[in-house]
């Protein structure tokens, strides 16, 4: 094992896959010589050249649908959309084109593309630069959605996503960009299958399901619950949103009898809603307590750090809500 930063895990995944397969191309704003806002694409332009690393104009709608056309004709585009909020500018390309092309053209094409974007708050970036919109895409048949929380998961899932023959949308955590974690020494063929959750901490009293940049916060909650309250929480990092590994969640809830989902997006029609519905549909009797969703309130994400701290689930707010379940 060696240490690698989250953003460099992304860089390595793209580099290794571009070296392995000449059909992999990188497309996006500032992905070229500048290397991107977080230096996430640093060095790729020099290594792979202007035909395979394409700096685009600010035209998310245009270049995402372009990438769909490219994917349908033999390339494997990796697309960067800087902020998760900007996916609204390319919804047609993702929802009406990427997700539908194979189905509506009678299976004649495949659309192997990966779109990654930096999602979530914590940087006082305000209402248009902090959202988490992963559930929108989990609702669409034809798309796959991942949201890794560690450099190792990012590396393994992203490389799998590039090799996958379907469109995959990858929501990366903005606050995770500079975090470090272990990765294997040789990652050339290090792949993590899509649709497999990771049990981060084992426990017997409550299942806490989460993903992306809420994961490290929830892990701290679990440690605190254990040492301060004697509550052993099992923490599950979903890693993939669609397909969703509900089996791992059900297995855990069957043991703990209690379920809480923590996420950074609003609760209505969300990943949390889906996880709870699926568990209840499976067998509501495995739940001995009412399930709980811990999410921001139903407001846009605010700018002021003071307000954003109230808005986002924090270690303190998550802990106090979970403790209420045990009163």
């Amino acid at each position: 094992m060696s240490k690698l930063k989250y953003f460099l895990a992304l860089n390595r995944a793209i580099r290794e896959e571009m070296s392995r397969d000449e059909n992999v191309v990188l497309i996006g704003e500032d992905v070229g010589e500048s290397g991107g806002i977080f230096s996430q694409t640093r060095g790729l332009y020099n290594e792979f050249g202007e035909l395979r690393v394409r700096d685009t104009p600010i035209a998310e709608g245009g270049f995402v649908t372009m990438a769909v056309g490219a994917a349908a004709t033999g390339l494997r585009p990796v697309i960067e959309i800087g902020f998760g909020d900007f996916v609204t500018a390319c919804m047609d390309g993702l929802v009406n084109q990427a997700a539908k092309l194979r189905y509506m053209l009678g299976g004649q094409v495949k659309v192997p593309l990966v779109l990654y974007t930096f999602s979530g708050g914590g940087l006082a970036a305000g209402p248009q630069h902090s959202q988490c919109l992963e559930s929108w895409f989990a609702h669409i048949p034809g798309l796959k959605v991942i949201s890794p929380s560690t450099p190792m998961d990012l590396l393994g899932l992203f490389k799998t996503a590039i090799r996958d023959d379907d469109p995959v949308i990858c929501f990366l955590g903005k606050q995770l960009v500079g975090t470090s974690g272990d990765v294997p020494q040789d990652t050339k063929d290090y792949l993590i299958p899509l649709g497999k959750a990771d049990v981060k901490i084992e426990g017997k009293d409550i299942t806490i399901v989460t993903f992306s940049q809420m994961t490290p916060i929830v892990m701290k909650v679990a440690e605190s619950l254990k040492s301060n309250n004697g509550i052993n929480a099992e923490v599950i990092d979903l890693r993939s949103i669609s397909p969703l590994d509900i089996e791992t969640v059900i297995k855990s809830v069957s043991k703990t009898g209690s379920l809480c989902v923590v996420q950074e997006s609003q609760s209505p029609c969300s990943v949390a809603s889906e996880v709870i519905s699926k568990v209840v549909e499976y067998d509501s009797k495995i739940l001995f307590k009412n399930p709980l969703r811990i999410t921001p309130p139903f407001t846009p994400s605010p700018f002021s750090p003071n307000l954003e701290n109230i808005y986002r689930p924090s270690q303190v707010s998550i802990e106090s809500k979970i403790l209420k379940l045990f009163q």
């Binding site: 059909n23 191309v25 035909l51 395979r52 394409r54 685009t56 104009p57 035209a59 709608g61 245009g62 270049f63 649908t65 372009m66 990438a67 769909v68 056309g69 490219a70 994917a71 349908a72 004709t73 033999g74 390339l75 047609d92 390309g93 009406n96 084109q97 092309l101 194979r102 189905y103 509506m104 053209l105 009678g106 299976g107 004649q108 094409v109 495949k110 659309v111 192997p112 048949p141 034809g142 796959k144 996958d164 023959d165 379907d166 649709g195 397909p243």
Partner: protein, 323 residues
């Protein structure tokens, strides 16, 4: 001017009639309540589809629109499988999952008709990006309408294509109406082709009802694109004889435009040309129409005799790999 020999003239005329008779029969079948959903016909625009596609090679791609039957036929789609798709049958190009707006034959270079106006251009630059990246000398021709030209997608596609000199031809069928709205309501200039200046490539406006004009101008644009000289915007002025969709009462059209006698017929125009130039005989001209007539009857029979799609087809092809 581009030379049209007898073999080429026969091919072109046959394609024109294929489009015309396919569309006329589709109109009839729709009116009779046989075809489900809705259909958008390209009657009156046949010279655009046939002239443009004739200038391409089989391995070149086209992307098409909601009004795409003509484009697909001209690029070599199979009439039986097309008609079957309109019927929603299992033998259709999309196994009954796509319908009129999603006919594709990737082996014939048809990346598909598309139901979202304007996206034929963005998908086209994607295919062109593939060709350029793989250093192939193929080109892509995107059909779109002057209605689509008002969309952001078309602007973004042309801008990107201009920057990277992608091997693409933007072929605008300027048919006077965007859905139910006349040209003046949604276009502030006289010619869409003027916009090419803003993207740094050539733009021309041509008579889209003159097959020879269409063919020779697209040939020129294809040559530029194939040689790495980037896109051309061709605006072909033409006429949409029918409504936006079949069943459209067309109250927005002046009565003169609804009168068939006033229709500028691209097939008659082309037949007059080949008669005048004595390229093929009148008997041969008549024979071509008869042959196509039979093909369309066959296609309808094929569709009628095909099975409805089974329940398994509903669930297939959502993903290419495991989910």
């Amino acid at each position: 001017m581009t030379k049209i020999d007898s073999t080429l003239a026969k091919t072109l005329l046959e394609k024109l009639w294929e489009v015309r008779l396919f569309e006329e029969n589709t109109s009839r079948l729709y009116k009779e309540g046989v075809l489900p959903g809705f259909v958008h016909l390209s009657l009156g625009q046949e010279a655009c589809a046939v002239g443009a596609c004739q200038a391409l090679q089989e391995s070149d791609f086209i992307t098409s629109t909601h009004r795409g039957h003509g484009h697909c036929i001209a690029k070599g789609a199979d009439l039986n499988r097309m008609m079957s798709e309109l019927y929603g049958k299992e033998t259709g190009y999309s196994k009954g999952r796509g319908g009129s707006m999603h006919i594709a034959d990737v082996n014939a270079g048809i990346l598909g008709a598309n139901g979202i106006v304007g996206q034929s251009t963005t998908l086209a630059i994607g295919a062109a990006l593939s060709f350029q990246t793989k250093k192939l000398d193929n080109v892509v021709l995107a059909f779109f309408g002057e209605g689509a030209s008002g969309s952001g997608a078309v602007h973004e596609a042309m801008n990107i294509a201009g920057i990277w000199k992608l091997p693409v031809i933007f072929f605008c069928e300027s048919n006077k109406y965007a859905e139910l709205s006349p040209f003046d309501v949604h276009v502030p200039i006289k010619n869409i082709s003027d916009r090419s200046k803003g993207y740094g490539f050539k733009g021309i406006t041509i008579d889209g009802n003159n097959l020879v004009d269409v063919y020779s101008n697209v040939l020129e644009a294809v040559k530029l694109a194939r040689n790495g000289n980037g896109p051309t915007l061709i605006e072909a002025k033409t006429n949409r004889w029918h409504g936006h969709y079949e069943g459209d009462p067309q109250k927005y059209k002046p009565s003169s435009e609804l009168d068939e006698k006033n229709w500028d017929d691209p097939i008659i125009k082309f037949q007059d040309f080949i008669k005048k130039e004595k390229i093929i005989s009148e008997t041969e001209i008549d024979k071509i129409k008869e042959i196509v007539d039979k093909k369309i009857i066959e296609a309808i029979k094929f569709a009628e005799q095909s099975k409805n799609p089974s329940a398994e087809i509903l669930l297939e092809d959502v993903y290419a790999s495991d989910f």
